[in-house]
Symmetry: C2
Subunit: 355 residues, 2 copies
């Protein structure tokens, strides 16, 4: 804490009036945490200051070569009114992996977490208490050298901003319709699909917009090589509950290693479910659905936590899963995980960090 300079604002923003009306990612809190990196100084100049614009030379690498990574986390209020973070160490660890892949400096994970905790103490009143709401946290690292040759930046800016949010999907906790993408590809092994690099998301916008135009919430990506195997959904990992096992794509090198994914696998195993991390072809999913062996499907991710999948469209063949209703296991996992996250269920895993 001694390393973080805090500058208070004289005027706090007007907060949301009705937590029921919160949407995703449109309103920001009063402060921002920032720190800078230079090779000779390492991470330095850690500060919390009033939320403000970032001013950069238009030649800054982040605008041209996409050298930028981010994380997504959430803070909840415990029943006693204490801020809770969910496995923040995992997020900062993953951010360091993302940094390595994009030739950015390893994060000072300890200082980043310290900064986040200080920020949360200051902004506690921004954490909504209503069920389904939370304070979304966005750690970001960007390359700021004003240089047009293609090479890694020397200087970097790391910042954390926060936004009170409601449900990620406008539909709330209801089954989403997913469109299986066959034209565009998200990632291949050897690329950047297994890290949270900005470019992955830019590449996904065309397909997800086309899916939205057809009435679907998200796309389901297939592998970029054979275009057969299931990878992940736009902003989530995906699970299928068959008769005999719960199956999710293995981390093949082009799939994001979701922290919610990892936590759900743990919960499932501890609940006695057989969990398989393996190649799953889209053909298998459709075949087994037709045989009545596909009982449920759900996505997992920080933003939506657990999201039931009701409809899958693959080349205009449509399957309905569990009569387009939220499945029993999906609901159980959602309740169990959000229970831990909000401090309403005993956290025997030590996942929840009290601030």
């Amino acid at each position: 804490m001694s390393n973080i300079t805090i500058t208070k604002t004289s005027e706090l923003k007007k907060k949301y009036e009705d937590a029921n009306k919160l949407v995703f990612g449109e309103m920001y809190t009063d402060y921002i945490f920032t720190m800078r990196y230079l090779p000779e100084k390492g991470w330095h100049d850690a500060q919390i200051k009033p939320y403000e614009n970032i001013s950069l030379n238009p030649a800054s690498l982040v605008f041209h070569y996409g050298q930028e990574i981010f994380e997504g986390m959430k803070a909840y209020l415990s029943p006693n009114g204490e801020p809770l973070l969910f496995r923040p160490d995992e997020n900062f660890k993953r951010m360091s992996s993302s940094a390595e892949r994009l030739k950015m400096p390893k994060l000072d994970e300890k200082l980043a977490l310290e900064g986040l905790c200080e920020l949360l103490k200051l902004e506690k009143d921004w954490i909504p208490a209503l069920e389904g709401t939370s304070l979304y946290i966005r750690p970001t690292m960007i390359a700021v050298d004003p240089y047009l040759g293609l090479k890694p930046s020397q200087e970097y800016l790391f910042f954390i901003i926060m936004s009170p949010v409601g449900a990620y999907y406008a539909t709330g906790f209801n089954p989403v319709k997913i469109y299986v993408e066959t034209k565009y590809v998200r990632a291949v092994p050897g690329g950047t699909g297994n890290v949270k690099a900005g470019g992955n998301y830019a590449a996904s916008l065309l397909a997800s917009s086309a899916a939205k135009d057809k009435g679907y919430s998200q796309v389901l990506w297939l592998d970029g090589i054979e275009r057969k195997y299931i990878e992940e959904v736009g902003a989530m990992n995906i699970f299928f509950r068959f008769n005999d096992a719960v199956v999710t794509p293995e981390l093949s090198g082009s799939i994001l290693p979701g922290i919610t994914r990892k936590s759900i696998i743990q919960l499932l195993k501890d609940d006695g479910y057989s969990v398989e991390e393996r190649h799953i072809s889209i053909q298998e999913v459709f075949d087994r659905a037709k045989k009545g062996e596909l009982l449920e499907a759900f996505g997992t991710g920080t933003a939506a936590v657990v999201s039931p999948v009701g409809i899958l469209n693959w080349n205009d063949e449509v399957i309905e899963i569990n009569e387009n209703k939220t499945g029993e296991l999906t609901l159980k996992m959602f309740k169990h995980l959000t229970g831990i996250q909000t401090g309403q269920i005993d956290d025997k895993y030590g996942w929840s960090l009290k601030i």
Copy 2:
């Protein structure tokens, strides 16, 4: 011109003193051209103003989801001292393709070119006249909505900045050493490899830095599916001159459709060379090199124009091309194209635009 507001600066920057000492992309001119896009207004607010920082909300999409595209162009001084642009319409057309792939608005290509021409008139004194130097031009489009949900931005900023540059490679017009990348992948069909999206470049930094550490200038990318076929070099397309034909990878959907590439193909054909755009395996290149059939290799791109390739390393097998000397055809193409670009050779193609 009536649509562009021009604000003059009262104090011009100090210009470079010695054009011989110019490096690539470190110094910027006095002005920036900017315009904005909103769905309801289209492209608007076109202005030329003193070069200044860009100030953005830290939640702006460009920092998180890499929704950003760019182009690279050069202005030269003709023997009469007039600024010359090389096929600028092709760059702005390609920028519109990039925009489409990243779900960004189509560029107002006419207004962008008009802005660039006005900018060049104002900044003519920045164009270096020395052989091998030019004024590098960087049109860029970034997504600026302050919104953390994953969706295309509504608002965009387009800007053009310029930088007087010397040779792209510190070695000047001399053969470069290229490392064939076998671990990392640049792009696959269905991805964004055929457009100038920031994320493509971020994804390339780890491999190119590792190659530099081994003493190589750039990496040569293989296809992401079979890892057999040649795609492109870090910042260039690539050509091989075999005994019987000049061969370059076909535009497969994951290769950047270079404007220099296209121009060189035209020059080669008009000079009577047989040019093949086709799949080329790295095995073929090494096999034919060993048989003495590989006479020359060169890269093409805006930054380096034409760059001889002297050494290729593939899994630590090394071939030397043309005794690591600049080949006769490579030199001829370089001289012909730069001759057209600088107005020293008659431009029967109408590629050169006088400002």
